[in-house]
């Protein structure tokens, strides 16, 4: 199967070429993707943890007697 292609615009000539990626370029893209996927999983986990803490914190404030409006004013 042919590799994916890249569109290359030479701004000095205005000519656009569609060039098939080399095997090395495809391998690099795959490596980059795996690296980024791992990084994104870490980011997503951190986001979920932050959201869970926010929910937990709001529940504790409510248990102390604050109204929803007061909690929103404090923490958004």
């Amino acid at each position: 199967m042919a590799n994916p292609t890249k569109l290359v615009v030479d701004c000095s000539t205005g000519i656009t070429e569609e060039i098939e990626l080399t095997d090395a370029e495809v391998a690099q893209m795959q490596a980059d993707a795996e690296t980024y996927a791992a990084k994104k999983a870490t980011e997503d986990a951190a986001k979920e943890e932050a959201e869970a803490k926010k929910v937990s914190g709001k529940a504790k404030l409510k248990a102390l007697g604050l109204t929803d409006a007061e909690i929103e004013a404090l923490v958004g």
Binding site: K6, C11, E43
Partner: protein
């Protein structure tokens, strides 16, 4: 009147899709550059995917950003630093987004010929007829003293190509 905002080049992705869009031999006669993107990824299993940018084909750890993102229910801020593959420049619609919709993005590169690090401001909006759609704003920095001659835009690899009818337009802007 000064001709201060000039289209350098535009490209539209054809029926086969494209893994990457590259602008090469960028003229050094402007003050700033602006890239306008209308894109969709062929990736499934997501309404949006990350886009990355590489300057002058540099793959070292010179890229960083501070981002503000909203996804339809929550707002986040976060930072990414490292190589081109580790730092997003924005987002693109992916194939789980409403059919035939495309994300919109603008990347503004100030003083691209200077010998200082390159400051970039970015904003992206994805399009989706559902709750989850993204807005993302970035303050982006590329720590290179080299003038920018080449720009490469790539969707999250393995997650698909730029889909047909995606477009990228590069503008040159003069200060006077």
């Amino acid at each position: 009147m000064a001709n201060t905002f000039v289209k350098i080049s535009t490209v539209t992705v054809g029926s086969g899709g494209a893994a990457t869009i590259a602008f090469t031999s960028i003229p050094q006669t402007y003050t700033d550059l602006k890239i306008v993107l209308s894109t969709r990824s062929t990736s499934g299993a997501a309404v949006a995917r990350v886009i990355r940018m590489k300057i002058n084909n540099l793959t070292t750890s010179i890229y960083s950003h501070r981002a503000l993102e909203a996804d339809g229910s929550t707002v986040y801020s976060f930072t990414e630093t490292g190589t081109d593959s580790a730092v997003r420049i924005g987002l693109t619609n992916a194939s789980s987004a409403t059919a035939s919709t495309f994300s919109s993005g603008e990347i503004y590169i100030a003083n691209y010929t200077s010998a200082n690090s390159k400051s970039v401001s970015v904003d992206f909006a994805t399009e989706n007829d559902a709750t989850t759609a993204y807005l993302e704003c970035l303050g982006y920095l590329v720590a290179t003293s080299a003038a920018i001659t080449d720009l490469t835009i790539t969707p999250e690899a393995l997650a698909g190509n730029f889909a047909q009818y995606s477009t990228a337009t590069l503008y040159g802007i003069k200060s006077s």
